[in-house]
Subunit: 387 residues, 2 copies
Amino acid sequence: MVALNKQLKQINPETGFSAAARYVAQYRAEHPKASIVSLGIGDVSRPVIKPVLNAMHTAVDDLGSMDTFQGYGAYYGIDELREAILQHEYAQFGFTKDEIYVSDGTKPDATNLLELFDARCKILLPEICYPIYRNGAYAMGRKVYTAPVDKNFVMRVPKEHFDIVYICSPSNPTGLAYTRKDLKKWLAYCKREEAVLIFDNVYESFISSEDVPHSIYEIPGAESCAIELRSFSKKASFTGLRCSYFVLPRAIDGGLFKERTINRFNGASYVAQKGALACFRKDALRLIQKNVQAYKDNAAFLKHGFQDLGFQVAGGEDAPFLWVAIPGNTDSFAYFKMLLEEIGVVVVPGIVFGKAGDGFFRVSGFGSAKTTKEAMKRIANYYANQA
Amino acid sequence: MVALNKQLKQINPETGFSAAARYVAQYRAEHPKASIVSLGIGDVSRPVIKPVLNAMHTAVDDLGSMDTFQGYGAYYGIDELREAILQHEYAQFGFTKDEIYVSDGTKPDATNLLELFDARCKILLPEICYPIYRNGAYAMGRKVYTAPVDKNFVMRVPKEHFDIVYICSPSNPTGLAYTRKDLKKWLAYCKREEAVLIFDNVYESFISSEDVPHSIYEIPGAESCAIELRSFSKKASFTGLRCSYFVLPRAIDGGLFKERTINRFNGASYVAQKGALACFRKDALRLIQKNVQAYKDNAAFLKHGFQDLGFQVAGGEDAPFLWVAIPGNTDSFAYFKMLLEEIGVVVVPGIVFGKAGDGFFRVSGFGSAKTTKEAMKRIANYYANQA
């Protein structure tokens, strides 16, 4: 038989996201009466807002008449959505609509972008990061390297040359954001090494800290070496709808990525794009702000809860994730199983985000206030009984 | 600067689909009053049918309540859609739901599947084919080879070894379909060479000929070496909605492609998937049949029209495309420009589908009956005046 992609086989499923999800599913099946609450989810707990629903109803009707039908052609996104993204977020940095790409999700975008570059490019990731960068690159047959992170989980600038650098800030999983100063160091590295920064900024709307930029392009020089990714998934509950976008400055590719897009993608779903467009309405912006605040409130609640129990906790202020050190630095997958089996609480074992993540677990504020409180109560009780 | 993907630069845009589209767009801009009718389009001219619109309205409302919300998780498609595809089309061949993948389009699928295989795999295409196979593979940094076609535009079985073979049947652009006998030869080749056949069957619903199978799996042995792709795009006007699917037998990959999917894709849009599910309702199947018949009627009309003018024409019976030999075997891009400039009729120059396609042009039955008739009238008048 034809040789399969060996690297695809090396995506280790025993300690990955899907292994954790499979473990939870199996546990549920074997304990149908167990009460399980999840702090592990990256999915949202708030429905799609009304202005977006209304826009999508109209979009569905558009497709029912040839006067308003939208078919092939919007490979990089429908014009009005690209224009709205530009005007609201990127025109201030001097970009044009031509540099805005609408897509069906940041997960595919993050590694699809690698097709723009030579296959031998050296790719650098932080040793603790969203596993999709590594696994997606593996699936594409690419090699990746990792750099250690400092005590704030910021990747240390290496001495060696790399061509492509991934940074997710505000960060999944650590919940911390790179400061302006951190990012300046990385942009200086990219300039010196003629490298490209893939800047995953999907949690931008959760930023509170003043020294954290809302866009990489706030820092001069980024416009010639950084690609910024954003998404509607979390803030506007598009996790099932699928619509994201990114800025790819012409200074980086001279427009070459369009050739990739035309030949490998057919555009995001029209209905989802019209829903995304409605996210820029004033009433929608207010409702989205409410979503964001609810998740931030959950994160703050969890942070205080864990701190009160004496845990070391990072994150939660600029992203809805908390990165919690496991007491006694236990194997994170074992700790994840223990919490599930003892008290029915789901967290994400840190090893999912790289070997250096073992000894930690991730919790998220994306649950409802109710499940968040219930989970925290169970953890507090568990440790009270241990004491 | 980081080295860009050289192969991406080699996708020759001067004779490609986009060059033709650009030429038409520029001509329109320069001649705003020109009356232009298109036989070139691959897009549909019939709106999305009512049962699908209704299902999508319900799906939009599903997202407005957490009781019915659908977020992450349906990487391979929502269960009920995979089940419907299985029951209607593939259970008869012994497949399971596990082997059905729902996606956002056959264009991305056709080359995404290459990530399942070793990067050094030898890929074979017919010398006249849908350019996305070649360009998509180029974008991924792959090498492709082509084999000549016979007088019926069926790819000749080569003596050499290849690992992956692409066949589109019923064929875009030639409008002809591979017969059972043709496909048996290719399956024997795949068995002998331990190769995989990527069988693009998106025009299946247009098949009329008795000796053309509706699925590659009608032929014994295909279940161990063929991947079949299908789509809702043309028959149900999903060109802007984006929903397709394919069968990847476990005998080929042992389920490995799931690892690729999880790490590189987040599922098709929920609303589009619910619309696709409605396509299997009885009332929807009847309306889809009407769509298909309308396009087939257009193709038949065009075929007679060209034949009456003395053109050599292939296709039109099992696919809504006609493949027309240019009188005097002129350069196809020049002929395309001439038709546009002289009579305002758009066709697709054959060279878009490979060098061997020069000397031909493609027309499609996807336009409305009105524009189809108008275009044919103009061509008839043009040749009457030439005579």
